[in-house]
């Protein structure tokens, strides 16, 4: 037993990096794990490129000379009035049904989508954390009322609310932001409430209370920092959801009113041109898909980095890394003993 233990320790020391001794904070560890996750890094890169393109959208306007709402009825449409295909007359991604530049419109659509996605997630996160903390910490009737409210908001059909508001007030960006924020905070609240319920029974909270800390100090200084991890993961996963909601509402004509371009309303307009202009559907759809996929992958990556025990989305990677290590050991040399082999 002692021999194998020694061997095990020796092996661990051998393979450990030299600076392993210095202490690392939870966040530092998470960040390191995230950096070693190729999928997460790739999604961060994609998101940064998307943000850069959205910011640089006016640059493309001056480069191409095509405004986002400017229709080129002569060069931008064919003789029969159909959209021109990608690459024609300086329209890199082709044009839409009245001869507007699809590239410029898709880039301006990215501005709307990312703006709505990030802003609504920020609003929902702040509101959700506040409600969840208060409900979980105070308990009693406060919790009962807030929990019922959370359940109602979760079960409420978002689209019906958007429909009613759009019918009465007319579709607008403000309604889109209000509806999506209203819909999203409840999910975050529910998680925060659950975590708060279990955290407030911990000994260190009791210690803080015995030192005379008030409810707000306990909630924000002692409980909130422990919730940041799950909240960060949830927020990252809510961004693509919000982006999809915005696109869906705009697609149905309940969101961003034309002529302002949004991925959703471009795809909505494209419906009558399936057979003549594939690019009209494919490019905005690709932009939307790449964005949501990148945020979802990043969210999964952050979750895995926070808690290495959770199942990875790409479980395959672990296996591959193991194989690589096996291949790296010299042929002929005995593979180092592992704990599981000893057990058998």
């Amino acid at each position: 037993m002692s021999v194998t233990e020694l061997e095990f320790q020796a092996h661990a020391a051998e393979s450990a990096p030299e600076q392993a001794i210095e202490g690392r904070s939870q966040w530092n560890l998470t960040w390191r794990r995230l950096l070693s996750d190729k999928m997460a890094i790739a999604s961060i890169a994609v998101i940064l490129v998307m943000v850069a393109l959205a910011i640089a959208a006016p640059l493309f306007v001056s480069l191409t000379g095509h405004g986002p709402e400017q229709a080129f009825t002569n060069s931008g449409t064919t003789r029969s009035g159909a959209p021109v295909s990608p690459g024609t007359h300086g329209f890199f991604l082709g044009t839409d049904y009245i001869g507007r530049d699809l590239l410029v419109r898709t880039l301006y659509g990215a501005r709307i989508s990312l703006f709505v996605g990030i802003l609504t997630t920020a609003i929902a996160t702040v509101a959700g954390v506040a409600v969840g903390l208060v409900a979980g910490y105070f308990g009693g009737w406060v919790d009962t009322v807030l929990a019922r409210f959370i359940d109602t908001a979760l079960a409420f059909p978002l689209l019906v609310l958007a429909l009613a508001l759009a019918a009465v007030l007319g579709p607008s960006l403000a309604i889109v932001i209000a509806v999506i924020s209203f819909f999203s905070w409840a999910g975050i609240s529910r998680i925060v409430r659950g975590q708060t319920l279990s955290l407030k029974e911990k000994e260190y909270i009791e210690a803080a209370r015995s030192l005379g800390a008030g409810p707000s100090r306990i909630m924000f200084i002692h409980i909130l920092p422990n919730l940041l991890g799950p909240v960060l993961v949830l927020a990252t996963l809510y961004i693509p959801t919000a982006v999809v909601f915005e696109a869906t509402l705009s697609f149905l004509g309940l969101g961003i009113p034309p002529p302002t371009p949004s991925w959703g309303n471009i795809l909505g307009e494209a419906q009558n041109y399936y057979s003549v202009a594939w690019w009209y559907v494919v490019f905005p759809a690709a932009a939307l898909l790449v964005t949501t996929l990148a945020f979802n992958l990043l969210g999964d990556g952050i979750r895995d980095a926070m808690d290495p025990r959770t199942e990875r989305i790409f479980a395959a990677r672990r296996g591959r890394r193991k194989n690589k290590r096996k291949a790296a050991t010299e042929p002929g040399a005995l593979p180092p003993l592992t704990v599981s082999e000893l057990g058998e």
Binding site: A155, L163, V244, L267, L293, F314
Partner: protein
């Protein structure tokens, strides 16, 4: 304690929720200056005579409380008023559209539960296999896919090419069941796939995770130790308990499902309830929109009661209260 008491209680809360929705709807649509409401109800091109007639007919000059009670009474009797554009009762319009929407919902829900649960269970029992890996990648793609984008891509890359080559069974638009089961399915298959894919992805992930958790429980080891076959352990002991979180998720998803139905109806030109209400927005046909909001709420409330009931029946640990 009994099931009847549970049902009565849930139905009473359901009625309470519906009352709140109806009140909210009333104030949203009617608690504004009379002239604005009348112009919206009468349509955009209405003459002043028509507008004053609308005000008289609907009693818009009455005190708000009188109007409110009248609205509640009419709604409770199922009288939703007349569509301005079609000159027929909203109730008739909704009744015409309901079978189409129901066709979409029932088929899609069946498809998504069957696909989602079976893929999830197979993935969990063969964790880390090729099947599991392929399905996790598919799940991620499915979750990131907006319903309307999938619908448009299916039309562009499946429906149009097939139609060009003379294969016309798969089609858009709607064909009633009276025209035969096969044509009906041909019209429904793309909407079903579209609506079911995104949800199936979520349910695959959910049931896989839930079953993996359950299979680590002590009572599963006990079941194995008793000498039960693996099959029996998985399906009788594991899956049943693993389904509980899946069913409770179903309750949360009903609102989202409704949104998906509206989108699918628009994409595939199905003249159902959702498409009707979206068209009503562009024509400003408020009575139809109010009718849709109310019927959608009834649907959500009823579906939630059914889900709660199923939840309690599946898991004996859940007490019916």
């Amino acid at each position: 304690m009994g099931i009847t008491r549970f049902l009565v209680r849930r139905i009473l809360t359901g009625i309470l929720v519906l009352w709140i929705v109806a009140t909210g709807t009333f104030f949203l649509f009617f608690a504004r200056p009379v002239s604005v409401v009348a112009r919206q109800l009468a349509g955009r091109s209405a003459t002043p005579q028509v507008i004053s007639q609308v005000i008289r007919n609907l009693g818009l000059n009455d005190p708000v409380t009188t109007q409110y009670w009248r609205f509640l009474g009419k709604t409770a009797r199922g009288d939703l008023g007349y569509s301005y554009y079609k000159q027929i009762p909203v109730k008739t319009i909704l009744a015409q559209d309901l079978p189409i929407t129901a066709s979409v919902v029932v088929g899609a829900v069946l498809l998504w539960l069957i696909v989602g649960l079976s893929v999830g269970i197979i993935s969990a029992t063969r964790s880390r296999s090729l099947f599991d890996r392929v399905s996790t990648v598919g799940v991620l793609a499915g979750i990131s896919m907006p319903v309307f984008v999938l619908g448009e891509l299916l039309i562009l890359f499946v429906f149009l090419p097939l139609n060009e080559h003379g294969f016309t069974w798969i089609s858009t638009g709607y064909a009633g069941l009276s025209g035969g089961l096969i044509p009906w399915m041909g019209h429904m298959i793309l909407p079903w796939i579209t609506l079911a894919t995104v949800q199936a992805a979520i349910y695959t992930r959910l049931s896989r995770g839930s079953l993996l958790d359950t299979m680590g429980e002590d009572y599963i080891r006990t079941a194995r130790a008793k000498g039960l076959t693996e099959r029996r352990v998985i399906y009788r002991h594991g899956v049943r308990a693993a389904l509980t979180p899946v069913v409770s998720q179903l309750g949360v998803d009903i609102g989202g499902l409704l949104g998906g139905v509206v989108v699918v109806e628009i994409v595939f030109s199905l003249p159902g309830l959702g498409a009707e209400s979206i068209n009503a927005i562009s024509t400003g046909d408020l009575p139809v929109i109010i009718g849709f909001v109310l019927i959608a709420s009834v649907f959500v409330v009823v579906a939630n009661i059914i889900v709660d009931l199923a939840y309690a029946l599946l898991d004996p640990r859940v007490r019916i209260t």
